[in-house]
Amino acid sequence: MEIPYTIETREDTGVNNAKLGIWLFLASEVMLFGALFTTYILLRIGSADDWSQLNDILNVPLATLNTVVLISSSVTMVMSWASLMMKDFKKYKLYMGLTILCSFGFLIIKYFEYSAKFEHHLYPSTNTFLAIYFTMTALHGLHVIGGIIVNTYFWGPGSKMWNTQPERFTNRIEIAGLYWHFVDLVWIFLFPVLYLL
């Protein structure tokens, strides 16, 4: 027996299974990052140092560039989904490809930021600010890598589903998109909290 509502929406709840599932997953992600932001606040309040000066060592221009890159990738992600809604598979490939490129761009810029810190012997163990900086950005980076894996699958081998179950494939891209926007959103919070405040 097939599982009902994998593709079509259930009338009285207004969602299909996967969409409800991803929102629940994102809720738990909010709690995960929420705990880390709380940690940040507690450590900053309890610290003897002035964190607004400790973060002067961070590279704000690079992080701004990264913010632009990540927001662009969110836009192209929406475009790839919209292309599928308009049944334009070629455009989907293009926009999804761009999304993946942007994600790699983000990681490459992040790599330069990290290695510059390590060159100056700034490590997570240097002080509590750098500890939370590295932990949060690395965890966010892991989420970016997770998004790249999922999106690359849907760009490559996973896109075969378009030929057999176009509706289901479109749903999958929407759900991957919801996740990707969340990863973006976390960065939107991380950027001011870590670099600017």
Binding site: E2, T39, G46, P124, S125, T128
Partner: protein, 628 residues
């Protein structure tokens, strides 16, 4: 919904024609069927429960006879023997018995390995370091690998989709993944016994700074926890989506059996409370591996040396993040138990549950409140009386829904002609046992009386009353109750009753003395049971009482184990609806349920979950899917 029901029916027809056999591995090992996964969870969790119980019995030897040589073979022989018996009880054909028998033998081997090591038992006498390992791993195994996987992973997985008329869980592959990730977590925890310094030894709460400077076992413990947290995340998303999306036609939320409601609220707790612990785990891993100081204050002196870490962190942060999970976790332990008890009480009183709606609202309220009571575990940390006052108030408030649930269940007994079968005996015992557990919690929740009681055996007695004769009795009740559904056979009633009465009496001899010792001021986590303390002398004799009761209780569990594995093949055959129940799991499926799809015809629900003894009906039970 109408068109969809049709399409499901069509799929069902198609399926009948292409009925192909899955390979052994896909059918029994890497299965995506919720029933198989439920049984996998069940067997694994029962094995871990037994292992946690073994650890406790080893600790109790040390507590009763501090400094006496450990008679290892008395502990190993029964387990090994039982393993061999279970292996051969129904022949050597591969079956669930083979897995269980081998696990029992492996368990005996593990304890032999631990017991014969000079690092743990020089001259056969237990070292305090090893006692600490046992303490930490007893707690971890019981909570994260035993009770929760059994209550949620096993019962939730097996029963819930049947009760809501679903063909399977919403995401069968995630379901399989959740089991195997849990399994990996279990294996990781077991591996930690073989690293230098042994397993984690900082308690199941892993408070820093102690845990930050502990041996490698703590790192493995954290990795194991990451597995277990991921598993419960996958599981809880699946449970919520299944309950919301896959309810049969006509099964509105207020017609759900209370068991499903309990699983629903539990899943939200797992979904939202576990991630902060994951965050805390990541931070502690950073502290241990990358040299950060999230939980390390500046200038910490250990063994006369100032630690070289940079400091600036706070151990209290861990406690907040840990208890933010671990208090909701308490309700994860008790809610599914209440769900099981409700089903059994309604069925065996042959009456509708009293106050179904209040039960549901109480469970939801309980879920919400459980997120804002966590710091009552931290009254003594110096966080200030204002915050203590807040958490003391919320703690008093959260006791109200628990009392509502317990009262509704007790009132449900009123005027019923009760069937005293084994599941019902366990269910009836649950009520006063959980009552004692709950009431003894109130003095702990008041910040002033907690000054005297905190970190004593009173705390241990309190929460064990909730979890052991509370939740674990409910789980036993559930096993006796749903066994005929999974196997088509009943477990033996006589053996079941011996198991019940033995466990019931022993449980109280184990845990009630703890309350007395705690009131006398005996601290928890002492490896000699308080022998060195003058104030403990008058209650020291109770250590032996508790230990003997624990070992006797172990003997009574043999009745359960033999009964369980024997009944799989040789139990009395019963009809599909063995208990004459109303819910879909009994009334609309076969026993055992069909391999795929669960239902012959897609059920449609026309009434509430507990329509027992409805006047004017032919039978004293009216199935949910029976038309009006």
């Amino acid at each position: 919904m109408q068109p969809n029901t049709k399409s499901v029916a069509q799929h069902h027809d198609v399926h009948q024609s292409e009925h192909h056999e899955l390979s052994f591995w896909r059918k029994y090992v890497f299965s995506t069927d919720h029933k198989i996964i439920g049984i996998q969870y069940g067997i694994t969790a029962l094995m871990f429960l037994l292992l946690g119980f073994m650890f406790m019995m080893i600790m109790r030897w040390q507590l009763a006879y501090p400094g006496a040589a450990f008679p290892m073979y008395f502990f190993i022989a029964p387990i090994a023997l039982m393993g061999v018996v279970v292996l051969f009880i129904t022949g050597i054909k591969p079956s669930v018995n083979t897995v269980a028998g081998l696990s029992l033998v492996a368990m005996a081997a593990l304890i032999w390995y631990l017991g014969s090591s000079d690092e743990n038992f020089p001259d056969g006498i237990m070292l305090p370091e090893f006692y600490n390992q046992m303490g930490a791993m007893h707690g971890t195994i019981m909570v994260f690998l035993g009770v929760v996987p059994l209550a949620v992973g096993a019962f939730g997985n097996y029963v819930m989709p049947l009760q809501i008329g679903a063909p399977d869980m919403a995401f069968p592959k995630l379901n399989m993944m959740s089991y195997w990730v849990y399994f990996m977590g279990g294996v990781t925890m077991l591996i930690s016994f073989f690293v230098p310094g042994g397993a984690a030894n900082s308690g199941w709460t892993s408070y820093p700074p102690l845990s930050n400077i502990a041996t490698t076992g703590q790192t493995i413990w954290l990795l194991g926890m990451v597995f277990l947290i991921s598993s419960s995340l996958l599981g809880s998303v699946n449970f919520i989506v299944t309950i919301v999306q896959l309810r049969a036609k006509g099964l509105s939320f207020m017609r759900l059996p209370f068991f499903v409601w309990a699983q629903f609220v539990t899943s939200f707790l797992l979904l939202l409370a576990f991630p902060p612990l994951e965050a805390a785990g990541v931070l502690q891993l950073m502290d241990r591996l990358a040299g950060t100081s999230f939980f390390m204050p500046s200038g910490l002196v250990v063994s006369g040396q100032i630690l070289p870490n940079t400091g600036g962190g706070t151990p209290l942060l861990w406690q907040h993040l840990f208890w933010f999970l671990a208090h909701p976790e308490v309700y994860v332990l008790i809610l599914p138990a209440m769900g099981i008890i409700s089903e059994i009480i309604a069925n065996n009183t042959r009456k509708p549950l009293w106050g179904y709606k209040s039960l549901v609202y109480a469970a939801i309220f309980l879920g919400f409140m459980s997120f804002i009571v966590w710091a009552h575990h931290m009254f003594m940390t110096g966080m200030g009386s204002t915050i203590s006052a807040f958490f003391q108030t919320t703690t008093m408030i959260i006791s109200i829904p628990s009392v509502i649930i317990l009262s509704a269940l007790i009132i449900s007994l009123w005027g019923g002609s009760i069937r005293f079968n084994t599941p019902m005996l366990f269910a009836l015992a649950f009520l006063p046992m959980f009552g004692i557990g709950g009431l003894t919690g109130l003095p702990l929740g008041l910040s002033s009386s907690d000054i005297h009681l905190h970190d004593t055996y009173y705390v241990i007695g309190h929460f064990h009353y909730v979890v052991a004769p509370g939740t674990i009795f409910a789980l036993f009740a559930g096993i006796y109750f749903w066994f005929p559904k999974a196997t088509g056979r009943k477990m033996n009633e006589t053996l079941g009753k011996i198991h019940f009465w033995g466990s019931f009496v022993c449980m109280n001899f184990i845990f009630f003395p703890m309350l007395i010792q705690g009131l006398a001021g005996v601290s928890r986590r002492l490896y000699d049971g308080g022998e060195q303390y003058a104030h403990a002398q008058s209650v020291l004799y109770l250590n032996e009482v508790m230990s003997v009761a624990a070992w006797v209780m172990a003997l009574f569990q043999i009745f359960f184990i033999v009964n369980f594995f024997r009944s799989i093949k040789k139990g009395e055959k019963v009809s599909d609806n063995a208990w004459e129940a109303t819910t879909l799991d009994w009334s609309a499926t076969t026993s055992p349920p069909l391999a795929h799809g669960n239902f012959d015809t897609v059920p449609e629900v026309h009434r509430g979950p507990y329509e027992y003894s409805v006047p004017g009906q032919k039978n004293d039970f009216t199935p949910q899917h029976q038309k009006a």
